[in-house]
């Protein structure tokens, strides 16, 4: 997600990276590219302009011009400004501690309200609340059935009435039914409507007055263009929104709408939908988002996600083995299984710093997921002894393993070879600090580590000798080293 804006902003900022010192002119030129990138990301025109103006103002200061690494300063300012634009964080749904709380969802048609209602219900249930769904979308044919189906999947009760009724009454009855059922959070799924439709907006206001929800959340499609600000503003004026949920962020939409909607309404973005399944709702974090936008990756989300899914014991064991420099096929298999639990390869990769930019280069990774299943099969066909000491697997054992797992013997060979070089790297990594580990990971990925069957670097014969450097390049490097020395002395 946000890959588009990441690559174009990175492109725009590489302008700074190449040119040694920054002049006012080059700031302006570079920031023009930033503005264009924002517009292409569907950031509202005024918001983009304001953003660029602010950065220009901050960047054309003495400090930056005299700074030793202007691109870092600019990146820092852009990053900070993006955070300011999308923050501050507020994930609270402000639910009542006692009694019943009501959440009302509203938005344009097709923004994903009904699915989001299901996701919210699931999340609340996971937190120990007793959610209750009310099908107040009487407009779209079969919307009621959709919510009923979702409710049944989640085992969350749904209040529904005949589609020819009045949505306001449905909501009132729904709240009554929820109280009777002992629920403590009611989620109202209202019909999608245009903000320029006065009658339907009045209907929402009626629901608001009669039911008095604690939270009114606006559901916004991340793919929305320039009009996003108009609808968000109109809904906010009519209803005083408490929060925004961005949906469909699992696509490749640049999601400029997130930036502009927040800026224009001042209403916090609380959650984001990142998939069709009902568990794909995540809290929105401007810092992470900004860091993603700048291609910095998002380790924090991965860490949190991992905490939820990873089996702590087996992770600890694998880590211990790693630290001792012992990496067996067993820990390899465990790691693979854990990765599978987390989600597909691609969704993992985008959390690792520097990887999001590489996703494009890697291309279709769906094969890699299938490959994990096959690797699992191969390793499962080995004896415990073989898994512990893979170097003892000879030709006849290989044939047996291949037969057992239904693959070609060559594939077993390849796995063992990949494993061998990975183990070597892991051993190396065990002694490194976190930063170098991340770098190593990135190197592994760029060399085709995650592409099944690709050659691994540092794997015995495949290691290539460093090419002799040409004279010019050498000279340049030397010069730079001199410069750096001088700088260091200045400090």
């Amino acid at each position: 997600m946000f890959e588009g804006i990441t690559s174009s902003l990175t492109g725009a900022l590489s302008f700074f990276r190449g040119s040694g010192k920054l002049t006012e002119a080059s700031i302006r030129e570079g920031l023009k590219a930033v503005r264009q990138a924002l517009l292409e990301a569907d950031v509202n025109y005024d918001v983009a302009q304001e953003f660029v103006d602010k950065i220009t103002e901050e960047a054309i200061g003495q400090k930056v011009l005299e700074s030793l690494s202007p691109q870092e300063m600019i990146l820092g300012i852009v990053y900070q400004e993006l955070i300011n634009l999308m923050g501050p964080v507020d994930h609270e749904l402000k639910l009542r501690r006692d009694g019943i709380s009501i959440i009302m969802l509203c938005g344009l048609q097709g923004s994903g309200k009904t699915t989001t209602a299901g996701k919210l219900a699931r999340m609340l249930k996971e937190q120990g609340k007793k959610p209750f769904l009310v099908a107040a979308d009487l407009q779209r044919p079969a919307a009621i059935e959709q919510l009923k189906t979702i409710g049944a999947q989640l085992e969350v009760p749904v209040h529904a009435e005949a589609p020819n009724g009045n949505p306001v009454t449905v909501c009132q009855n729904g709240v009554k039914a929820a109280k009777a059922a002992g629920a403590n959070v009611v989620i109202l799924d209202t019909a999608g409507r245009l903000h320029v439709d006065p009658e339907l907006m009045e209907e929402l206001r009626n629901i608001d007055r009669k039911v008095e929800p604690q939270q009114i959340l606006f559901v916004c499609d991340a793919m929305t263009g320039q009009d996003a600000v108009n609808s968000a503003r109109a809904f906010n004026e009519a209803l005083e929104l408490d929060g925004i949920i961005m949906t469909k962020l699992d696509g490749d939409a640049r999601g400029g709408a997130a930036l502009s909607v927040k800026q224009v309404t001042g209403v916090p973005i609380k959650f984001m939908g990142v998939g069709e399944q009902l568990d794909k709702l995540e809290p929105f974090h401007p810092e992470r988002m900004a860091s993603r936008i700048l291609g910095g990756g998002d380790m924090q989300t991965l860490a949190e996600k991992a905490q939820r899914v990873f089996d702590q014991d087996s992770m600890a064991k694998a880590q211990e083995e790693l630290m001792r420099g012992k990496f067996t096929l067993n820990s390899f298999l465990d790691a693979m299984k854990q990765i599978k639990k987390l989600g597909n390869f691609k969704s993992i990769l985008q959390y690792i710093p520097g990887m999001s930019g590489m996703l494009g280069q890697l291309g279709d990774l769906s094969g890699a997921d299938k490959d994990i299943t096959r690797i699992e099969g191969i390793i499962s066909s080995m004896t415990a002894e073989e898994r512990q000491n893979p170097e003892n697997i000879d030709i006849s054992r290989r044939r047996r393993i291949a037969r057992g797992s239904g693959v070609e013997a060559a594939e077993v060979n390849r796995l063992l070879k990949d494993f061998g070089s990975m183990a070597k790297m892991m051993q190396g990594m065990a002694g490194m600090d976190k930063m170098s580990q991340a770098k190593q990971m990135q190197m592994m990925a760029s060399s085709g580590m995650f592409q099944p069957g690709a050659e691994m670097p540092g794997a015995g014969k495949t290691r290539s000798k460093p090419k002799p450097m040409d004279a010019d390049k050498k000279k340049k490097l030397k010069k730079e080293a001199e410069k750096q020395k001088k700088k260091n002395r200045k400090r």
Partner: protein, 315 residues
């Protein structure tokens, strides 16, 4: 109500008179300055037509009018002509408003198959209902295949529509293989000797490789049943969509070979300018526009009227 009226109503509910945009920005008799162009650029961007198209237009205006005295009609003509040519594309195809079915490619022998695809929530099912209604009103015998077996109650939604319009529908239980539904649809269409089969598909993000492959498979199954089918593959695009619409059009075309666009939900303040960027970059034409929530609110796309409405001042 004429089709132009409902389009106008659709695009701008505040119903401003055409080209006020030009009038309130550029004053007749004034010298056209670069500052004015910057302001106009902003308005163009707000239609979602994209930076490239907006830039192209500004370049054109700059060449012809910069530093000269503004003559409103001439300025308006420059803008209008440029946009219309962008929209018409290289082939300059225009459909006859008197023949609402003229954009569709019908099979010479046997039934015509129309496959409809798009991302989630763009309005596929509603657009299919409108299209089926239009075909039926023009004397075609229509069968629907409820291929969205993924989203809860999508089959029910299309079934309700089929009953309202009075056309046959082929369904399978939720979570069935959508290709099997398409297959059954083809069989039923041949049995009934119907004219047109419209195949619905589940909304999918174009970044989902597996789901895009599934679309290719559905296409393959259809063509194995009815040669040369599908004759039309229509991408439904939400008028509110921003620049992501371009990627949608590209990816769906790669997977399913799109032949045209239905621009849905052109009834808010969204301008649907993204279709200009799409036409400019990949020459995929808009065939129909959805301009309201009623079953009759599907209109043949008319570039001239679209440009007129696009440039009217929004709220």
């Amino acid at each position: 109500m004429g089709w132009f009226d409902s389009l106008k109503r659709g695009i701008s509910k505040t119903a401003q008179i055409l080209n006020t945009d030009v009038r309130d920005l550029f004053k007749a008799g004034e010298i056209l300055t670069e500052d004015k162009l910057v302001l106009y650029h902003k308005r163009l961007i707000s239609t979602d037509m994209g930076v490239a198209a907006a830039d192209a237009l500004i370049v054109e205006i700059r060449e012809k009018h910069l530093g000269r005295t503004v003559i409103l009609d001439e300025l308006w003509k420059t803008i209008h002509d440029k946009l219309e040519s962008l929209l018409r594309g290289v082939d300059g195809e225009v459909w006859d408003p008197e023949q609402p079915l003229s954009p569709l490619n019908f099979s010479n022998v046997g039934p015509t198959v129309i496959l409809v695809a798009g991302v989630n929530g763009v309005g596929k099912t509603t657009s299919i209902a409108k299209l089926a209604n239009l075909l039926k009103k023009n004397g075609k015998k229509v069968v629907l295949a409820a291929g969205d077996t993924f989203r809860a109650a999508a089959v029910e939604q299309l079934t309700m529509w089929s009953q309202r319009i009075g056309v046959e529908i082929v369904t399978k239980p939720s979570q069935s293989d959508p290709a099997a539904v398409a297959h059954a649809g083809c069989t039923r269409t041949k049995e009934l000797n119907a004219d047109v089969l419209i195949v619905d598909t589940a909304g999918r993000l174009h970044t989902e490789v597996n789901l895009m492959n599934q679309l290719t498979k559905i296409r393959r199954v259809i063509s194995s049943q009815i040669p040369d089918a599908p004759h039309e593959t229509l991408l439904v695009l939400d008028a509110v969509t921003g620049q992501n619409g371009i990627t949608q059009a590209q990816k769906f075309s790669e997977a399913a070979g799109c032949t045209g666009i239905i621009l849905a939900k052109l009834d808010g303040t969204a301008r649907g300018g993204i279709v200009i960027a799409i036409r400019q970059q990949m020459s995929l034409p808009v065939k129909y526009v959805g301009v309201g929530e009623q079953i009759d609110d599907l209109q043949l796309f008319n570039p001239t009227a679209f440009v007129d409405a696009l440039l009217a001042t929004g709220p």
